[in-house]
């Protein structure tokens, strides 16, 4: 498997570290609701098919990437910087657009 890092180019999966499910959102830090935190820490869907996951280019630029990958065929359909689509950290803070880091998305990876 190869991942196209928007900074470094297409690299072998050995340079990357899997960092978990990209679909989950960290709860409001002030929240003490156990169900919300439990879901954040433990609940994962484990789909067979399209999956959105976090990969860190740990052997390269060390950026975290959101990789859309099919868990059955390993075909990667898009790679983008993580964080760009995330909500601000505090629920108390007003909702605002994510920082203007350009999300570089590539088409179908040269599988």
């Amino acid at each position: 498997m190869r991942i196209s890092c928007p900074y470094c180019g297409t690299r072998d999966v050995a340079e990357f570290t899997y960092q978990g499910d990209a679909t989950i959102t960290r709860p409001d830090p002030a929240s003490t609701d156990q169900n919300t935190w439990n879901a954040f820490v433990y609940d994962r869907a484990n789909p067979a098919g399209k999956h959105s996951e976090l990969w860190q280019h740990s052997g390269g630029c060390r950026t975290h990437l959101v990789v859309e990958r099919d868990t059955v065929t390993h075909v990667i359909t898009s790679v983008a910087f993580a964080g760009a689509k995330r909500k601000p950290v505090s629920a108390a803070a007003p909702k605002r657009k994510a920082p203007a880091r350009k999300a570089a998305t590539r088409g179908k990876a040269p599988s």
Binding site: R26, P29, A30, H64
Partner: protein, 1001 residues
């Protein structure tokens, strides 16, 4: 069978004689020979004994698909087993042995297994040895009794215990087009892609490119095919954009068009070329792959088809044409298709007498009749070989009339005298890589073979692999595949002209011959694992119908050849037993590796003296000054600086005492160091540490604790505030990478709005910790540019100065519990500063100390490290609750108070004192009753231990149920592995100076 060399054929070099030994006997061959061809030329026909029945075996094939002729090669004192003699190139000094025979190949005691044949049918082990003990001959206990004998009798070569001294290498390669296989189709494909300017890798498993062109005897472009192929390969090798890899088999096809290949760089010479590895593991990432892997010929299943002298027709042809060896003097052929006639013509032209051509078909074409006439010998149509004669070598075959509908042979038996039988049951495309890369293969009724599936990855197929049945088609499809792989279009021009006999490409659907009367012995399907046609039917009778069950029940298609010759015949017999078609029976999915791979090549350069090391800037100094080094992850750290005659314990006790009584110094460069900078750095640290850092004044350090999201402890360490927005975080040596990744993930993914930059600076700073009552006096002598008194440099304070001209940062921290300072300088100044500090300490008797003394000092103080922070403990378990801020949320704060994590009866940190004056053991259990015989419930375990010089006792840290509540109680250590039992007292983990007066002084 008695083979012999002919004078006018083959690519062997008759001017270079090679001498080698097989089973202790000296032989000679020519450069270019394989062990199989050289032994055949010497008249050797018996190569080994079979896996289960110890049946005598010769060669079946001439290549990588060989199931029978496996040998052990002895090289540099190391034995390597199960090497196909058909692939092993001979070299001067080669020593090889046959396998699975005792005491000798010709006289093998194990052959008695043949008499007990019916006993050892499929499922023998399950039926005989599983289940309860009923009577004397059943059950698992009986298996335990028999195992040694059976393991000795069954099997192939034996593994060696000697260390593999060979070197292996790993290579990464990228190319636009990877062509696998260099037969006519592969050469044409590589040429087309290379001419289009693409970067091409052409991989060929044989030492010489050309594939079937090397032995087909056809004419391409007006030249003998072998010459044409050699010229093509040479031209390709000279192109800058082509890499020709011979002796290389591509064995794995993975996602993203990543393929794995093994290049056997040095197996064909006695000594490795200097600087060259034995094997090279290639990881090739190809834009497009062109598969031109050819096809494997199939044997026909009939009784006695494994007798030495029976081989595939294509192999016999190859021995004659490529190696100039006739595998027999009087050769019979047995076929269900036309290709064996070309073999007959070649063998006849090379000088063999053709005894007969037995064809299962009633009707054959005129062209083939011509070939048969040229070859000579009787043409027996509509007939089949139903038995073989001879002992350890073939003397003749029995021919009977074949019923084409039932596949049974019956009627009058005729014996045809022959010392070699060349058989052909049709051809199976070598679809292994395509199957690995995608879907299930597709059955073709005309070819009676599985063709490659539709590509799920960017590959193209050509030649026999894709079902082409003649060289002209292969050249055309190869060229077109190469052009398309290069992004172009198929060409309409005529490819090179081929002169070859016109053959009917379609075989008769005959896989097995079953004589109607008289059991004539075993009909082998899988030669390597001794699976017979009867075993396949037994599997069917016992309900193992699916191909996957068939494989596992009978072991059909397992072993080192992975069923290259047995796969389709086995399926055909099962399909026949079930009364369904072969495609309905299905096929197993091929998995990597296509052919065996050396473990050394996979581990290449990741072990031993070629694995990476992390050395501190003072490493050489430590080694030069007698340090015994120990690994800590990739780091190497001094364990002790022992004096001559000192034991490990004596050394660390002496070092620890020096620190408590005078002053000592330890290399702490391995600590993880992360520069945390930016306007939100303080806010960020408040979120990741359990305690507050935004309140920390500039120029001070603070001890911090980090939790994981699930509320368990991640790591601890001090963080120094160097400026308003500039922090230096330290982590434990082992957790440095983990902590960095944790912080990066939080910033990148969850808090992208925080303006913080993280930089790993672990390797940029060298660190020395000076501890002991005299530490300040040493610094006073060594440091210029700053005062180091208690006012200027209080506990947890930071100052900047110089040591012998080198700038240093000094922080007053203590891991040992003594007055102590950590002195950091640029890594390049590490040894310089280290030596200057030691020189300054000389009047005070300063000594360097190692990890054992460091451990002793921290155990006495009750400080925790990675041994206690093992991923299962909470802050409360370590009595660090005081560090959990109630004023702010932090990572893990919401999860750390879960019911199971706040239970008082969890295993918690305590101190342990040995009451019998004997050492404790790391990992040993703590139990409540002292009984060696019966296991006790464990109430915890020891995480670290040492001999404490200040207490003059063996002490340790432990995690014990209830923790503090057990202080003052007696318990026992139970360490069954090391046979250590004894009484201990549970005490506070603060053994020494619990008030901390020494480090604050």
């Amino acid at each position: 069978m008695s083979g012999r060399r002919v004078s006018d054929r083959g690519r062997i070099d008759r001017s270079r004689s090679i001498s080698f030994r097989f089973d202790g006997q000296a032989y000679s061959g020519y450069a270019g020979d394989t062990l199989a061809s050289a032994l055949l030329a010497n008249g050797i026909t018996l190569f080994g004994r079979s896996f289960k029945y110890h049946r005598p075996r010769g060669v079946l094939t001439a290549g990588i698909d060989e199931p029978n002729a496996l040998v052990t090669v002895i090289r540099d004192g190391m034995r390597e087993a199960n090497i196909p003699a058909t692939q092993l190139e001979i070299y001067d000094g080669l020593v090889a042995e046959s396998q699975n025979r005792f005491p000798s190949l010709a006289f093998d005691i194990g052959a008695v297994n043949q008499l007990a044949g019916p006993v050892f049918s499929a499922g023998f082990y399950y039926k005989t040895f599983m289940g309860p003990v009923i009577g004397p001959l059943r059950g698992t206990r009986f298996w335990m009794f028999c195992e040694w004998f059976i393991r000795r009798a069954a099997g192939l070569g034996r593994a060696d215990h000697a260390r593999d001294a060979a070197r292996y290498q790993r290579m990464n390669a990228h190319c636009d087009v990877l062509v696998v296989g260099s037969g006519p189709a592969g050469l044409a494909a590589a040429r087309a892609a290379a001419n289009a300017g693409k970067n091409v890798i052409l991989a060929e498993l044989d030492p010489v490119a050309g594939g079937s062109a090397k032995w087909s005897g056809e004419t391409i472009d007006g030249k003998p095919a072998a010459e044409w192929a050699a010229a093509q390969a040479e031209a390709l090798a000279e192109m800058d954009n082509v890499r020709l890899l011979t002796r290389t088999h591509v064995w794995g096809y993975y996602d993203g068009n990543t393929l794995a290949a093994l290049e056997r760089v040095g197996d064909h010479t006695l000594t490795a070329t200097p600087g060259e590895p034995r094997h090279r593991h290639w990881v090739i990432r190809a834009g497009t792959v062109v598969l031109t892997t050819g096809a494997f010929e199939r044997p026909i299943v009939f009784p006695g088809n494994d007798r030495p002298g029976v081989m595939l027709a294509g192999a016999a042809q190859r021995y004659a044409a490529e190696f100039g060896v006739l595998p027999g003097r009087r050769i019979a052929l047995f076929t269900n298709n036309d290709s064996a006639y070309a073999a007959a013509a070649e063998l006849s032209a090379a000088g063999a007498e053709i005894a007969a051509i037995v064809d299962t078909r009633q009707v054959i074409s005129a062209g083939v009749r011509d070939l048969a006439a040229r070859a000579g010998g009787e043409l027996l149509l509509g007939q089949a070989v139903s038995a073989t004669k001879g002992g350890k070598a073939l003397t003749g075959v029995t021919v009977q009339r074949l019923d084409p509908v039932t596949g049974t042979a019956s009627g009058e038996k005729r014996t045809v005298a022959a010392d070699c039988l060349a058989m052909s049951g049709g051809w199976s495309p070598a679809i292994h890589l395509a199957s690995q890369a995608g879907a299930a293969p597709k059955w073709n009724d005309d070819l009676q073979a599985f063709l490659p599936p539709d590509p799920a990855q960017p590959w193209l197929g050509a030649g026999a692999f894709a079902g082409d049945t003649n060289t002209a088609d292969a050249l055309r499809s190869g060229r077109n595949a190469g052009a398309r792989a290069a992004g172009g279009r198929a060409s309409r021009s005529q490819p090179a002209k081929v002169e070859a006999p016109k053959l009917d490409p379609f075989p008769a659907p005959v896989f097995e011959i079953r004589p109607t009367e008289g059991s004539s012995g075993k009909a082998l399907v899988d030669h390597q694992l001794d699976v017979t046609a009867e075993d396949v039917r037994l599997a069917h009778r016992e309900g193992f119908h699916s191909v996957e069950h068939l494989k596992r029940y009978t072991t059909l298609g397992m072993a080192t050849d992975q069923g290259k010759t047995s796969n389709v015949p086995g399926l055909a017999i099962m399909a026949n037993a079930r009364g369904i078609s072969i495609p309905e029976a299905g096929t197993t999915r091929f998995r990597p590796p296509f052919a065996p791979v050396s473990l050394g090549s996979l581990a290449a350069e990741r072990f031993g003296d070629v694995s990476p090391d992390r050395l501190t800037p003072m490493h050489d100094w430590h080694v030069d000054h007698g340090a015994e080094m120990m690994p800590a992850g990739l780091w190497h750290r001094p364990r002790i600086y022992g004096l001559p005659g000192e034991t490990l314990e004596q050394a660390y006790v002496r070092e620890a005492k020096t620190v408590r009584e005078g002053v000592g110094m330890v290399d702490v460069s391995t600590l993880g160091k992360i520069a945390v900078k930016g306007p939100d750095a303080a806010e960020f640290l408040d979120r990741v540490y359990t305690n507050k850092f935004s309140t920390l004044p500039v120029g001070k350090a603070r001890y911090g604790l980090m939790l994981r999201e699930d509320g368990l402890v991640l790591d601890d360490g001090t963080t120094w505030r160097l400026g308003e927005n500039d922090f230096l975080m330290t982590t434990t040596t082992a957790a440095a990478g983990k902590v960095m990744q944790h912080l990066e993930c939080l910033l990148d993914v969850h808090w992208p709005d925080l303006k913080v930059a993280l930089t790993s600076v672990s390797d940029q700073w060298a660190g020395a910790a000076i501890s002991g009552p005299d530490a300040r006096r040493v610094l006073e002598r060594a440091v210029q540019g700053t005062r180091v008194d208690n006012e200027t440099l209080p506990f947890m304070g930071i100052v900047y100065g110089e040591v012998d001209g080198a700038p240093v940062t000094i922080c007053r921290l203590s891991f040992s519990g003594e007055l102590a300072y950590e002195v950091y300088c640029g890594a390049g100044h590490g040894t310089h500063v280290w030596e200057a500090l030691l020189a300054a300490g000389e009047p005070f008797g300063i000594l360097p100390y190692g990890m054992e003394a460091l451990g002793t000092l921290r155990i006495e103080k009750g400080h925790v490290t990675g041994a206690e922070i093992d991923g299962r403990v909470t802050a409360r378990d370590l009595y660090l609750d005081w560090m959990l801020s109630k004023k702010k949320p932090f990572v893990g704060s919401a999860m750390m108070d879960r019911e199971g994590l706040v239970d008082e009866n969890r295993i918690r940190l305590v101190g342990i004192i040995s009451l019998d004056g004997l050492p404790l053991g790391g990992g040993a259990h703590i139990v409540e009753a002292n009984s060696h015989a019966e296991p006790n419930e464990s109430i915890g375990h020891i995480t670290a231990f040492c001999y404490s010089p200040v207490l003059a006792k063996y002490i340790g840290l432990a995690l014990v149920k209830g923790g503090k509540a057990r202080h003052g109680q007696r318990a026992f250590i139970a360490d069954p592995l090391r046979k250590r039992y004894g009484p201990v007292e549970i005490v506070s983990h603060h053994f020494f100076d619990p008030e901390g007066s020494r480090m604050h002084g």
